[in-house]
């Protein structure tokens, strides 16, 4: 026996022992194998079909290679070093005094009330009391409308029929490396079901649900809009939730049936790493919607300001006749952040149309890439697409890249693409400063103007927060 395999045996042994202890303390040891997946599934009290699905995903994942085509570089991720299950519990900080002052400073700038600050930082439970009661009121109102809004774990137990019908039907486990990993180890996420003809009486937000269950790093969200229904879903929260975890690989699936509409808005502000590029979240997310019914509509709006690395392409597959897909995006990168983000609009049904408006802002030494695909199938007669990608550069050490792909197999399709790259000019800055506006405020004003087309797609409160977020994230972008 060589030294190395001896070592392996010892590691294995400790590992098994460690595992048993950790079951009691509700934590899995680091690493990924079938036992860990069984452990997660057992902890979640899942039906057999879900465990089988997870195991199939895991077996498939073993055959996959991490994608390298994106315009991002990062050190190799050791998937055996990651803890895939850790019980959701509050961090049990006693007061705000124990929270990193840097975080508090950011909260203050965002104008988040103290109570919310306590909750966001994971301080004691009593601080959340208000939000919990709010959440309960919401639940009652939704139930009256017949809307189901709960955690995905709860849905798997309570609504197995809906889960078996739709779960994994938009993003199958075999879809890509990160989606496959997610399928094997997902720990939580949201589930929304809007019954036929119902217009969801309020904007649904993870903000409220997250109070009840802390979500892990492998979330999975499923939204089903039955014929004639409408829902607007807000993901993420305005505050920078610093996550100690490094890898975040989520999956979001949307299904819109006949005449249904789903509007999905995200403000992503994970920890982007420090000024030297140390730390930060690797955000590898698969988001996709199916416009399955005729006249259905799915609209993605995203404001991406956080994460060290963003790898994310919210897409729409336009199956139903006359269905509509939209993608509105602002991606801001500063310091050493890298974002490779964009969308795919796959036109399959006749008379389908899509709109892509992407605004990339690169500052510091960051790299910002838009990657898009517009694909028109032979069946998609009269398909229409309009794409506009604009990049704004701040300083001379950052990069903006646009990688659009257009594939049209139908001669009656109408596809338009516009792209611009601009810099904030000295003259624009001088113009503002000469009217008394400080350099930082001037940049923020100009950047907000640049993003206006996207901001107007956001729900009102979100739009205001998005503007503040950009300002905070642009601090120190000059010079």
């Amino acid at each position: 026996m060589t030294k190395k395999s001896e070592l392996n045996v010892i590691v294995e042994q400790q590992y098994t022992a460690g595992f048993a202890t950790d079951v009691a303390s509700d934590n899995a040891p680091p690493g990924l194998n079938e036992d860990i997946i069984r452990f997660i599934s057992h902890k979640k009290n899942e039906p057999e079909f879900m465990l089988e699905w997870r195991l199939k995903a895991y077996q498939h994942w073993l055959t996959l290679k991490e994608p390298t085509w994106a315009n991002v570089t990062y050190p190799t991720i050791n998937y055996q070093d990651i803890i895939y299950y850790s019980a959701p519990k509050p961090k049990n900080l006693k007061s705000l005094d124990e929270v990193d002052p840097e975080i508090l400073k950011t909260y203050e700038k965002l104008g988040i009330p103290l109570r919310e600050q306590e909750w966001l930082a994971g301080v004691a439970v009593d601080a959340v009391f208000d939000s919990v009661s709010v959440a309960t009121t919401f639940k009652e109102k939704l139930a009256r409308a017949g809307v189901i809004f709960c955690s995905i774990s709860e849905a798997i137990q309570k609504y197995p029929d809906l889960i078996q019908k739709y779960f994994g039907s938009v993003v199958p486990y075999s879809d890509n490396f990160f989606a496959c990993l997610n399928a094997a180890v997902f720990t939580d996420g949201s589930f929304c079901y809007i019954p036929e003809g119902v217009r969801c009486p309020m904007e649904l937000s993870t903000y409220f649900r997250i109070n009840a269950v802390a979500t892990g790093q492998f979330e999975r969200t499923l939204i089903i809009a039955e014929p004639g229904s409408y829902v607007s879903y807000l993901e993420g929260c305005s505050a920078p939730m610093r996550d100690e975890n490094q890898l975040h690989a989520a999956v979001v699936e949307l299904i819109a049936l006949d005449n249904a509409e789903i509007k999905y808005s995200t403000v992503q502000n994970w920890y982007p790493g420090d000024k030297e590029g140390k730390g930060g979240i690797y955000n590898f997310v698969t988001k996709r919607g199916h416009c399955r019914g005729k006249n259905s509509k799915i609209s993605w709006t995203q404001i991406e300001t956080g994460s060290a690395i963003t790898w994310k392409y919210p897409s729409v597959i336009l199956l139903g006749e006359n269905s509509i897909g939209e993608f509105y995006s602002v991606a801001l990168t500063n310091n050493y952040q890298q974002a490779d983000t964009g969308t795919k609009m796959i036109h399959i049904g006749a008379n389908t149309s899509s709109t892509i408006i992407a605004k990339g802002i690169a500052a510091g030494k960051s790299q910002n890439t838009f990657r898009g695909l517009v694909d028109v199938s032979p069946r998609a007669a009269n398909a229409k697409n309009f794409t506009q990608c604009d990049s704004l550069l701040l300083g001379d050490k950052c990069g903006a890249h646009t990688v659009p792909t257009i594939k049209s197999k139908n001669q009656f399709a109408n596809i338009a693409h516009e792209a611009t790259t601009t810099k904030i000019s000295e003259e624009q800055l001088f113009y503002c400063r000469q009217r008394g506006i400080s350099e930082e405020d001037a940049i923020s004003l100009i950047v907000n103007g640049f993003c206006k087309q996207v901001f107007k797609e956001l729900p009102m409160e979100f739009a205001v927060e998005a503007q503040k977020l950009l300002a905070v994230n642009l601090e120190g972008a000059v010079g």
Partner: protein, 164 residues
Amino acid sequence: MIPMLKISDLVVSVENKTIIKGLNLVINPGEVHAIMGPNGSGKSTLANVLARHSEYKIESGKIQFNGKDITDVEPEECAHEGMFLSFQYPVAIPGVSNVQFIKTAVNAVRKYQNLVPYDAVEFLEIIKEKMALLNMDQDFLYRSINEGFSGGEKSVTKFYKCSC
């Protein structure tokens, strides 16, 4: 009496070329002065240097505005003190509406003067009143700064910025 503007022995260079060579000028409150000269004689340079444009370097000399030395200040401080440039060819800032820009500028100056900034409603009332004086259409407020403006419209924009 303290002069409103006092320029003493001002030497200014642009890209290492000396343009203004020892200018002296005193302007008292209420006076109107016109500076004339052939192309390249330094009229725009003087305007830009008074506004503290970073490309115009003061080699020597002194500028005082209402008794305060503004030789080494930033452009925004100049504006806060009450002096700003009316641009011959103003730049466009896409997506930023005139009302948003003027409000940001006015409130920045008010902050410097220790005055409470105007909220959106107050500000809209004030600016609409000024606009009525100038007979200008209200959509102007929501258009982007100088984007697709005619020369005349750009000039009118300047007046709003002066009058608020």
